[in-house]
Symmetry: C2
DNA sequence: GGGCGTCGAGAAAACGATTACAACGAGGGC
DNA sequence: GCCCTCGTTGTAATCGTTTTCTCGACGCCC
């Protein structure tokens, strides 16, 4: 690779001048032209590593998600990447597997790598520690999940209302014993969605004991949804519908239902979080659609502002969910009169 | 952040000694201990940017895929990331959208960023140009799709045989007019799969004209599959089964079938490339399972070898596909005798 | 015409690590 | 006892940029 000095020599100027040409310094038109020509001939493009070292700012941001194989986070990642590209930032992808230790190691890398900033879907609301980054002046944006300490910008969805609306929908459709497969304790999304479910159930007159009995916690993964659904089906007072707190667990729940020969919509199924194939499953699945792409895009925009040095006060952007009603919640079989 | 000199001062040694402690140089045990203690106290970890500049080698690799929202590439990305992590490399994610120009820009970034290497699922077999990177000594591994110029390592699947087996399966199940929704011309995966389909059809005695008439090209995306399926359904001699060359187009094809009230398995549907929900669609979809994760993992391993300076001759690793038979190809309705 | 402000360009000092080289001390062989 | 060798350590150069000075030239105003 040609260096800035090579270009300088070829154009008969100093390296400083070349740098100024590429960074918008004041250079006479004639010299700038000579530099540009020389750079083109030599195929020069500034070494970003050296630039980073000097400016103490990289053109790379980190994106920490639990698992990019989850369609929700894949879409979010896509939103981040598209937006970052427009700001000529590169995105380093990190899968944390919701493992706080793994997450911590990645955050250390972000520091050592002098990344321009980090977007993180925190593995744990209480145990994820972003204060080290913040203290060292690294811009951080929380996405999807709120971290406990509120010292960073955040982009989330309105989990609580989304879950409440969804649960109300199930009740309105005539289901009488609506169960809930919640996420793991300790993530804000899980807790908020559970809160929404509970709130709707209480409003409908269900007792706290019943609500508690009909709630299971999964791990936001297929297997967890499967196991939780089996437990729910084994209850003495078997539920007739389930609100599942994320897409992958809904997949597991559907499998469990199929194994037990229980079919929607006689048994109502509603997934919080869309699935690309939700309309193809028979019957098509009612879902709460999450603006996953926009979540990523907004987070990336917010981060870019911070990287550029915006001094705005911290903000939390909350995006809306949309209930997409399909056949899986059409209503229970009419009861014999 | 503490620098190496800070640590050196705190430990009462020279920066060189600190560096040696961290890079396996010869240092007396007593001093090494002092250095480690000082580093721990100061929370020091070597600045990777400075290290990269000095050693001319980064700890970041680029991963260029068409679209990480495609479950196939998401899984592949996951394989790359997991493997890279073990070698303490970070992965920069780049979505090319199969756009050669966008891909070229990303390759330029890889150079400017001095990345350790690049794994690329080439946007085009003929127009993707990796020679610039290779000429500058950057390790490159092609994944999933073979580039034309064979001067790089590659990890692919056995597309041709997989497609041939799949087509044979459809024929064996009694379908008589097996159509094909192929990918865009110009990618090796598309061409190899089409070749496999053709080969099986010819062996079954189908004429080249008929084969040609029953073939449509899509863009590897949902919409392309949808459009192609509609065209196929409108043929005067309507096919009774379709071999779809990738997962997303299969999704589109299924939608088109549903809109036309055509149901598998009376109409056979087989997807090349798995879908996480293939078993949930009714009827469950027969697929050719691709080792997407392993594809990524192998590519990352190969790249790490190269980064470490392995002088082995170039290699191409070909992974096997597995035909996963499900109900969508159970066979056509028995014909009236 | 002199002083002053402005603008452009170059020299050189960072940024924080690695590493070639030289220096130094100790130990062993003769 | 001297010299050679070997193993550790420190000094300083280096990677390729950006950026702060400094300097010179130029133009303008009084």
């Amino acid at each position: 690779m040609a260096t800035i000095s090579d270009v300088a020599r070829a154009a008969g100027v100093s390296p400083a001048t070349v740098s100024r040409v590429f960074n918008g310094g004041r250079v006479t038109a004639e010299r700038a032209e000579r530099v540009r020509k020389a750079a083109a001939v030599l195929g020069f493009s500034p070494n970003r590593v050296a630039r980073s070292l000097r400016t103490q700012r990289a053109s790379v941001i980190g994106l920490l998600v639990p698992d990019v194989e989850d369609p929700f986070f894949a879409s979010l990642a896509r939103g981040v990447e598209d937006t970052a590209l427009r700001g000529s930032l590169s995105v380093v992808l990190c899968n944390t597997d919701d493992d706080v230790e793994k997450e911590r190691r990645y955050l250390d890398v972000a520091l050592a790598e002098q990344m321009a900033g980090v977007i993180v879907a925190a593995a744990s609301r209480t145990r994820t520690d972003l204060s080290g980054l913040v203290a060292r002046g690294m811009p951080v944006v929380a996405v999807d999940r709120r971290p406990r300490a509120a010292e960073v910008d955040a982009v989330t969805v309105d989990d609580r209302h989304g879950a409440e609306d969804a649960t109300v929908h199930l009740l309105e459709r005539g289901y009488e014993r609506v169960a809930c497969i919640a996420g793991p304790a300790g993530t804000s999304t899980s807790e908020d969605r559970l809160a929404g479910y509970r709130s709707a159930m209480r409003d409908a007159g269900t007792s706290d004991e019943q609500i508690h009995d009909r709630t299971r916690h999964g791990d936001f993964r297929v297997e967890g949804g499967h196991a939780a659904m089996r437990e729910l089906l084994a209850l003495p007072e078997r539920p007739d519908a389930v609100f599942v707190a994320n897409n992958l667990m809904a997949l597991g729940a559907l499998q469990a239902l199929r194994e037990a020969d229980v079919e929607p919509p006689a048994f109502g199924v509603l997934s919080f979080g869309d699935l690309p194939w939700a309309s193809l499953v028979r019957p098509p699945l009612t879902t709460v659609q999450l603006p996953s792409y926009d979540l990523g895009a907004s987070a990336a925009e917010l981060l870019q502002d911070r990287v550029a040095g915006s001094g705005k006060p911290l903000q939390t952007v909350v995006l809306r969910t949309v209930l997409r009603v399909r056949d899986s919640t059409r209503g229970p079989a009419p009861r014999p009169a």
